[in-house]
């Protein structure tokens, strides 16, 4: 079976690099029309041109006004509306310090949690009125087992995503809109590689599948959740972690 997203309009937030870009590429290859929104507009443009046929938008997901403006622009460019929303934009913070700065806490929460809610608040009503739509939110292994290297604020934001996902699943389910979360384990993306460089074996020893994750591992699962294959799944958290946490 070829999973096809032909004629689907897709928005991937934070799609300029890493998991977001892998996801945008996979969904585009499946035939979807992809829009990438990222705080790094040049990065979003570069990713869009690498993927080919994708649109790029600038958006700081920590600023609700930016998200509302993004919605206006996307709606103008894709008048049929967004069918699939991938809430991937987020800040990762590495720290073992309990003394997280208030400013850092607020900035991270504004992007990772409030930003996701605000994006749903903007895009979901149209999905509701068309009685179709799929929302996929990025959580994290940290929300399942506590952070290994990441800050407490990151863990809390990603745990919040699970509650948000379940709540929205319940509220939007009667309108035919599904809402699910994906919780990746340790993925080989730029910042992670940089952070764990030289210590890979220590991590691999704790992963039953015996390897670190690749962005495509998550992108393929997001493709599944974006497709008709998962029509009866909503409110779920799919762990893509090679068995590090079994939920």
């Amino acid at each position: 079976m070829k999973i096809s997203l032909a004629d689907k309009n897709i928005l991937v937030t934070g799609g300029a690099r890493g998991l977001g870009e892998a996801c945008a590429r996979t969904l585009s290859e499946a035939g979807g029309r992809v829009a990438i929104a990222d705080i790094d507009f040049d990065g979003a443009c570069a990713a869009a041109s690498r993927i080919g046929g994708a649109r790029a938008y600038a958006c700081d997901f920590g600023r609700p006004a930016d998200i509302s403006a993004l919605h206006q622009r996307v709606q103008r460019d894709m008048p049929a509306g967004i069918d699939i929303l991938i809430n991937n934009a987020g800040i990762i913070a590495y720290t073992k310090e309990l003394k997280v700065d208030l400013e850092d806490w607020d900035r991270l929460m504004d992007v990772n949690l409030r930003g996701v809610f605000w994006t749903c608040r903007e895009f979901a009503p149209d999905m509701q009125s068309r009685r179709c739509g799929k929302i996929i939110n990025l959580s994290s292994l940290a929300a399942r087992i506590g952070g290994i290297d990441v800050g407490v604020h990151y863990t809390v934001s990603k745990a919040g995503i699970i509650g948000l996902t379940r709540d929205l699943a319940k509220k939007l389910g009667p309108f035919g809109v599904t809402v699910n979360a994906v919780a990746p384990g340790i993925m080989l993306t730029g910042p992670v590689k940089e952070h764990i460089g030289g210590r890979e074996d220590g991590y691999i020893a704790r992963i039953p599948l015996g390897r670190l994750g690749r962005p495509e591992d998550v992108a393929n699962v997001i493709l599944f959740l974006s497709s008709r294959l998962s029509d009866y799944m909503t409110g779920c958290v799919l762990d893509v972690n090679g068995g590090m946490f079994m939920g």
């Binding site: 379940r166 389910g173 599948l209 393929n220 599944f224 009866y232 409110g235 090679g242 079994m246």
Partner: protein
Amino acid sequence: MDLGIKGKVALVTGGNKGIGKSAALELAREGCNVAITGRNEADLAAAQKDIKGLGVEALAIAADMEKAEAVTRAVNRTYENFGRIDILFNNAGHSKPCTPISSTDEDWTVQLNIHLMACVRTCRLIVPRMIEQKWGRIINMSSMYGILPGSGVTDYNAAKAAVINYTQSLAMEYSRFGICANALCPGLIHTEIWDKFADTLAKDLGKTRQDVLDAAADSASSVKRYARPEEVGKVVAFLASECASYITGCAIQVDGGAIAGIEIKMISDWIGAK
């Protein structure tokens, strides 16, 4: 994106009807050769014909997976016929109403045999060869009741919870050999089992089958509807595929938001009202 399992061999227990048959058909559409087991030979023959109609090989094995010797026979027959098993979907199962104190030792043995021990027995025979192949997909059927119990089927709840735990042990021990093991937790899926259950309840309550099904869908799922069996079959095909190669040890819910909303109490209420 192609699922990438063309030419693989799948064994689907209870593949003669319902979710099992849907999964067998989805796997066949992906180009897998499929062996199915079932107790009802007429259903089995019909399912075999449907699978063959998709242009793959199909083997039908009459077997009651509750019995250890039948499990061994079914697995051996599949190996004799196809030479390998890449995908194992332990799906066969059934339940009957009971309470925590009414279920007899015999009832418990039946539930544990058909749900838990059938998984254990198939895996004992199949996992060593999956390890040699360095590739395998095991999908064990649990239930939303394996995550949180539903009222009126105590022994079934416990057996399904055990299936999740056993599946996680499989994942823990054998994932490093390229074997992904996951449990599947469906919610309200419109199969014959639900029709029968609804008929029993409807009779007791002076309602119609549709009344019961509608009430269940309304209060036990966020999406307010039953799933068609193929909506689970497609998830099985995904879990069997290359797309799911980093998912292992998970309990995958296909429940229309039932656990998410924890709204599986309607059926409990109805049984309580009896």
